[in-house]
């Protein structure tokens, strides 16, 4: 501990964030790639290692803190947003990362997710979406497709699934992004953007469960289809996709449609330009409705706007109260108006 300055001056590397614990996810699980990308991201953020806190709920993804050489808290099912809120409010200097899954965040924890997003604490939320309950061995989840057959839906699910991005937008999250477990570079960029955003950053990560929902995202990010199925979002750039980058999203009234540049007189000027910082909620809502298979799936930052941050407002009120009344004096408060003296 005495060599603290030396430690602080040595640049952090990925290795600094790897724990000695054996990682116990199934071989081939998408979680490995996400863990790897987070361990690559953290050293680059300029945050002292001791200020990182990783908080999770329950589920396969929620084992994440055990594999990160940071402060970590593996809490209870669905409630990670509440613990993360307490940590951030108590110490706003910490870089708080919350790891959750589709069941943890959107089923048992749906209420807390709504409230952490609307409060806009400066916390980064990574939602691993594999559209199935893995740790309990394969029941359908709140993001599973209608018709999915599992042990609890032997005749196929008839639950209409939650769209995580639309949920976050509905809660008026200030930062909403999506990335995939097969694209480390895109993950790192997305995590960096999430960190840079002041406010709650919500990142949906398409994640593959090799045991209970194998290849769930293969139709979107599979090797042969991804060029036509993924729409990479870049601020200020037109919404173009396809191997030749010649297909795009045009607005027809209020409805998006896929068009090809050069066909029917379509030019790049007809294509919608990505504006994640728009204050018009329709911009991001429109992107959230680009659903497979009619549309390519948008990846990247859908929305990034500024709004007051909860813990800053709280600190501001504490300071304002002290400025107005002076630092509280308990003895004086108790012996204030209404007290009397017995000689």
């Amino acid at each position: 501990m005495s060599q603290e300055p030396a430690v602080a001056s040595a640049p952090l590397t990925k290795k600094d964030f790897v724990t000695q614990n054996d990682v116990r996810w199934c071989p081939g699980c998408g979680d490995y790639a996400i863990l790897n990308s987070i361990q690559k991201t953290f050293p680059e953020l300029g945050v002292p290692k001791e200020n990182f806190v990783v908080i999770s709920g329950i589920g396969c993804s929620s084992r994440f803190p055990y594999y990160m050489e940071t402060f970590g808290f593996h809490t209870i099912h669905g409630r990670a947003p509440t613990v993360a809120t307490g940590v951030k409010v108590a110490n706003p200097n910490l870089s708080v990362w919350m790891v959750t899954g589709d069941g943890d965040a959107l089923s048992i924890g749906g209420n807390h997710l709504l409230h952490i997003l609307r409060r806009n604490l400066d916390i980064n939320i990574l939602l691993f979406n594999n559209r199935v309950y893995g740790l309990t061995k394969g029941q359908y989840s709140p993001t599973s497709s209608v018709g999915m057959k599992t042990k609890t839906t032997p005749m196929g699910s008839f639950d209409h699934p939650v769209n995580p991005i639309q949920f976050a937008l509905g809660a008026e999250a200030t930062f909403v992004a999506r990335t995939v477990d097969t694209d480390p570079k895109h993950m790192v960029e997305t995590f960096q953007a999430a960190h840079a955003h002041k406010g709650t950053s919500f990142v949906e990560i398409f994640q593959n469960c090799v045991i209970f929902n194998k290849d769930v995202w293969e139709d979107i990010y599979g090797r042969g289809v991804k060029d036509d199925q993924i729409l990479y979002l870049e601020e200020g750039k037109p919404l173009l996709f396809g191997k030749e980058k010649n297909r795009g999203i045009r607005l027809n009234g209020l409805d998006p449609e896929v068009v090809t540049i050069g066909e029917n007189g379509i030019t790049e000027n007809d294509i919608l330009v990505h504006n994640p910082s728009s204050l018009n909620p329709l911009q991001a809502a429109l992107l959230s409705q680009l659903l497979h298979p009619e549309f390519p799936t948008p990846l990247g930052v859908l929305k990034s706007i500024q709004r007051d941050v909860y813990e800053d407002c709280m600190d501001g009120q504490v300071k304002a109260a002290k400025d107005a009344k002076g630092q509280g004096d308990l003895q004086a408060t108790l012996a204030g108006a209404g007290s009397w003296v017995v000689e």
Partner: protein, 612 residues
């Protein structure tokens, strides 16, 4: 005897009850009577009693709101059994409260309200005021309070309905005359509350108050007037305090004594909401408060705060305790400090939200899955909530564990005078934290206390992970069967070890005798009064009221052994008795009341008499 020379009678103590419609302002006049009596130097205790509905249908029996106060020149332990005086603002209030008025007691009624419609709503076929038996049994004072208020405010610019609304202060003024109470505290209150914003409202109420007082002075409505001397209290600075306010200040004081930032997170629930409200008003003490989205979130936020180095506190009532159970388990499993306040109300389920009960002791004891006890501390009087909160803080921070602090609605909203302690001289609390530089093994324990040390995010070199999975000493996840048994036993023994830090148990009376009355929490006042009276009659009775319910004090077994019989009065079906009998294998006598109301002293006197 002339009108001005009415009988002035010196009495030791008296019980007054105000009752009316829930919109009649009975709670506010009760509070004012309390402040005035405190100002007059009397000891006192209060019992507000109101319906769960904000405004139940006017004039009906369920809509009756009451406020009882006992005040005296000697130590007052309870709000009193039967009122010596009842102010009934309408027929429903009379019907609900008359059965409890002492024979010969002063009965003040607002005759204006005794009209056909109101009588019918209260279920009276005939006007009870016309029954000559009423005036024979009680000292009946019939006043048209409503009309007198309107007359007194003839010059006021207020609208007629607004004038009528001041009638509670006219009634209050009359009682001030009867009991020789000072008007100043109430006049000051009205001027402070309304003077700036609505001066005409302040003036009208002050005028009504004075009119009521002069009514007593100039008429022969009441033959007797009473004086209650100042209580012979210890020198010091006093204030009136209710349980939830005392709890708020106790939390602030405890956190200060520990050098900790206090983060309170709650969800509104009767009767705990005023703790969140009270702390939210103390931001200049550096306190952070979060109104969470639900009871589960409230405790989750508190836990996150404790993990990050603050002291997280949450408060709720029974239904909220049920929702918090899983998080209490995680807090106990990870061994982080926290205070969970349960202001008990009548249960189960929504139950009796505005009535008192001691129904959550076993819930606090057993209400988690797995085997993982939680320390439990109970407050015994409104002002004691201050010290109970400090004690909960001490245990939570020195042993690193969640502590359940049991209060009761009866204490939360009841008031008493309180000699303000010297805050600076209160003992320090030593949070159990690793010294920067020391080697850290997260679940390594102090060999004596079995407590672990904490390291917080932001401390360089102390990165570690915790969670709800079973772990070994290093904090690493362990499924080893023997480790699980060892850790389970250690967690239980750690809570038991807290008993070594407790002072000797206070016994009211002799250390041995025929009968020990054993209670816990808010029944302390009634138990002490009843036991003292029985002792005055020469019986070998003593009482112990427990502050610590888990662990129970080490000396309790020896105390129990000193008595032939043990009587356990509780406002539940016998929860402490269940614990005592199973732990000490000692037969005990139950005395239970499950009516949403506190024990009267007479009930306990009878229960004691029946067993000696």
């Amino acid at each position: 005897m002339s009108a001005s020379a009415k009988n002035l009678i010196e009495i030791e103590s008296v019980v007054v009850r105000f009752a009316g419609d829930s919109g009649d302002g009975m709670q506010i006049v009760g509070e004012q009577f309390t402040d005035s009596s405190a100002f007059a130097g009397n000891d006192l205790a209060t019992l507000p009693d109101f319906p769960a509905e904000i405004r139940a249908p006017a004039g009906t029996l369920p809509g009756v709101s009451g406020f009882q106060i006992q005040f005296g020149s000697r130590r007052v332990h309870t709000p009193g059994d039967c009122p010596d005086a009842l102010v009934a603002m309408n027929p429903a209030a009379l019907k609900v409260n008359l059965p409890e008025l002492a024979d010969g007691g002063l009965l003040v009624v607002n005759t204006e309200a005794f009209k056909t419609a109101n009588l019918a709503k209260a279920g009276y076929l005939e006007n009870p005021l016309d029954d000559p038996a009423l005036a024979e049994k009680y000292t009946l004072v019939k006043i048209n309070i409503t009309d007198l208020t309107k007359e007194a405010l003839a010059d006021s610019p207020l609208k007629p309905t607004e004038k009528t609304r001041c009638k509670n202060f006219l009634a209050l003024g009359f009682t001030y005359w009867v009991y020789d109470r000072p008007l100043e505290p109430t006049i000051n209150f009205l001027e402070t509350k309304w003077g700036k914003r609505l001066p005409e409202v302040a003036q009208a109420n002050i005028k009504a108050l004075r009119a009521g007082y002069y009514l007593g002075e100039t008429t022969e409505l009441a033959q007797n007037r009473y004086q209650i001397a100042r209580a012979g209290t210890r020198p010091g600075t006093y204030r009136k305090i209710n349980g939830n306010d005392a709890l708020v200040y106790g939390l602030v004081s405890g956190a200060q004594s520990a050098g900790k930032e206090l983060l309170f997170s709650g969800y509104p629930i009767t009767p705990a909401s005023s703790i969140l409200e009270g702390l939210a008003a103390l931001k200049h003490f550096g306190i952070k408060t979060v109104q969470a989205e639900d009871e589960i979130a409230a405790i989750g936020v508190a836990l996150g705060a404790s993990f990050a180095g603050s002291i997280g506190v949450t408060a709720t009532s029974g239904p909220g305790m049920c929702l918090k159970a899983e998080f209490i388990g995680l807090t106990a499993m990870t061994e982080l400090p926290m205070i969970i306040v349960d202001v008990q109300r009548g249960g189960p389920s929504t139950g009796l939200p505005t009535k008192t009960e001691q129904g959550d002791l076993l819930l606090s004891y057993f209400g988690k899955h797995g085997e993982l006890p939680c320390p439990i501390v109970a407050s015994t009087s409104p002002s004691d909530c201050f010290f109970a909160a400090r004690e909960a803080m001490r245990i939570a921070l020195e042993y690193n564990c969640p502590v359940i602090l049991l209060s009761e609605l009866y204490l939360a909203i009841g008031s008493e005078p309180w000699r303000i302690p010297n805050i600076a001289s209160l003992p320090a609390i030593q949070p159990n934290i690793i010294e920067q530089g020391d080697e850290y093994v997260p679940y390594k324990r102090d060999p004596k206390t079995l407590a672990r040390k904490l390291a917080y995010p932001g401390m360089p070199g102390y990165e570690h992970r915790i969670g709800g999975l079973e772990k070994d000493e290093t904090g690493g996840v362990s499924y080893d069967p023997l480790n699980h048994e060892k850790m389970t036993r250690l967690r239980i023994e750690k809570v038991q070890a807290i008993a070594n830090s407790l002072p000797p148990t206070y016994i009211n009376g002799d250390k041995s005798g025929k009968l020990l009355v054993l209670g816990w929490g808010g029944t302390e006042g009634a138990i002490t009064s009843a036991v003292n009276r029985t002792r005055d009659e020469g019986f070998a009775v003593s009482s112990v009221v427990l502050r610590h319910l888990n662990p129970l004090p080490n000396d309790l077994k020896g105390i129990l052994d000193g008595f032939d019989k043990i009587l356990i009065p509780e406002l539940n079906h016998g929860q402490l008795r269940f614990l005592i009998q199973s732990k000490y294998l000692r037969e005990t006598i139950p005395y239970n009341k499950i009516q949403g109301r506190p024990f009267t002293v007479n009930e306990l006197l009878q229960a004691i008499q029946d067993n000696i």
